[in-house]
Amino acid sequence: MPRETEISVNERAFIQQALQENLRLDGRAFDAFRPLELTFGDEYGVADVQLGKTRVIARISVDVAVPPPERKFDGIFQIIAEFSPMASPAFEVGRPSDAEMVLSRILEKAIRRSNALDTESLCIIAGLKCFALRADVHIIDHDGGLVDASCIAVMAALQHFRRPDVVVEGEKATILSVREREPIPLSILHQPLCVSFSYFEDGEIFLIDANLSEEQVRNAEIIVTMNKHGEVCQIAKYGGATVDPLALLNCTNVALQKVKEMSKIIQGKLEADAKKRDAGGLMAELSAENER
């Protein structure tokens, strides 16, 4: 079984000593994210997130399925996150590691269980047909902060995605193609984003958005998911070294501030993308004139 290369003793000591001198190896402040790059694909619902060297692509696809009998009025929404050996030699196909399980569980709790997506709007005919939405998360490059990057990618992709319109006549539903009818955006109720805090020196120092080498040195991790309205969607501290309860509460305050900043960036990117796609309304599209 391939294993993550362990960080050397020297490097470990170096990172720890630097932290005690209030320095991070990449020169960031303790509470700073790496520069976030967000680009959208040509298709709707593809978001490519780069957080420093970490790179995650999320893709949303839609299908029509029969809703489960116990949830007749809901659509289906799945988040599938798999580590591929492309990101890091330590990842293996078919054997989910602990990190992979944590990632998919946290995305599930942060986005699905907090009802970020209104699944009822995905229902076509109650009990018979519904849209089955699937978010695939691909980890392209791994340099720490996978949870944060994946969450941003999925949320951005969901907001970018447009589903085809549908016409229902009695028991018959017709899905209209993109050419026939303008596709419609999903109804997003709120935008949860994850901020992971890494603890060092028994909870004396905490870092936001640790990179891979910092992740290997840390004592413990706390992942807080919030939305910009100040609601906490999920907290996960699965173990590791203990922390002071006040520091834990402080995390939610810091997370809120970070989430507000991130939401603003994502919103800006979405608007810029929408402007790029907008050809200038119906009149511009119908016009026969073209530039020569």
């Binding site: 079984m1 602990d98 399980m101 944590v102 998919s104 569980r105 599930e108 709790k109 269980r113 907090s114 009802n115 909870g203 706390i222 919030m226 100040g230 609601e231 906490v232 969607c233 999920q234 907290i235 996960a236 501290k237 699965y238 173990g239 590791g240 070294a241 203990t242 922390v243 002071d244 309860p245 834990l248 509460l249 939610t252 809120l256």
Partner: protein
């Protein structure tokens, strides 16, 4: 099925007649199974868990994480639900919830155990959930702590856990009252978190919240949770000391 918890604000009594900071009856025993290296039986209200520890034994070859050839022992946790434990009888495979539960237990207990004393070996924790009525993770943590102490595995301190919910708020400005130790009816209706603390100073070892709550509510929940953990610690400590007296 929606449940009416709105009556709380009238009488300040919960569905089962408790006040906001009351624990359910916590009953625990250790050394319940003679064959195991250590075992415990714990009831938190109607949540009942039997936990056994086996080992330290020789690590299986090719076991994940530490295992054979590593200088530290490793802890394996195996959680199983009895078919009759819930309201509905359900065939339970290894689903995501079970793996999540065992992952949380492994990662929260590992730093407390002095595993460097057991190189090349594995300690296996087996938890059988006999009856579920909310606070499952908290009950699992408490029973695992007891069983590990019974097995005589050296550890730094007790890890004790409780759940804490936030009652529906009456006004938009304030968050609702925190409620200690939720049962399954409250768990379905209210946002709650599971908090585990280590030692007397109340440092947080585990904190898991899975539901959406107003940011202001978290503070109250953590504060009440820490106090609850201290009370659970006293009870658990009493059980261990009571057992020790039998040999005195």
């Amino acid at each position: 099925m929606p449940l009416d918890t709105s009556t709380y604000s009238l009488a300040l009594l919960r569905l089962d007649g408790r006040r906001w900071n009351e624990l359910r009856r916590l009953h625990a025993q250790i050394s319940v199974q003679a064959a195991a290296s250590g075992s415990s039986y714990l009831e938190m209200g109607n949540t009942k868990i039997l936990c056994t520890v086996s080992g330290p034994s020789e690590a299986r070859r090719g076991a994940g994480g530490g295992g054979a050839g590593s200088s530290e022992g490793n802890l394996e946790v195996d959680v199983s639900f009895a078919g009759f434990s819930g309201v509905e009888r359900r065939k339970r495979r290894q689903d995501k919830r079970t793996t999540d539960l065992s992952h949380t237990l492994t990662s929260s207990l590992t730093p407390l155990l002095h595993l460097h004393l057991y190189p090349h070996s594995t300690i296996t924790l087996t938890l059988s959930i006999l009856s579920q009525d909310g606070s499952l993770l908290a009950a699992c943590i408490n029973s695992a702590t007891l069983a590990l102490i019974d097995a005589g595995v050296p550890m730094t301190d007790y890890l004790t856990a409780v759940t804490c919910a936030s009652s529906p708020s009456t006004s938009d400005e304030e968050a609702g009252d925190p409620l200690l130790d939720v049962n399954s009816a409250e768990e379905q209706e209210l946002p709650f978190l599971t908090l585990g603390t280590v030692g007397r100073e109340g440092r947080v070892g585990v904190c898991v919240m899975e539901s959406r709550v107003r940011g202001e509510g978290v503070e109250g929940m953590v504060a009440v949770g820490i106090e609850g953990c201290a009370r659970v610690r006293e009870i658990v400590d009493g059980v261990v000391r009571g057992y020790g007296k039998r040999f005195a």
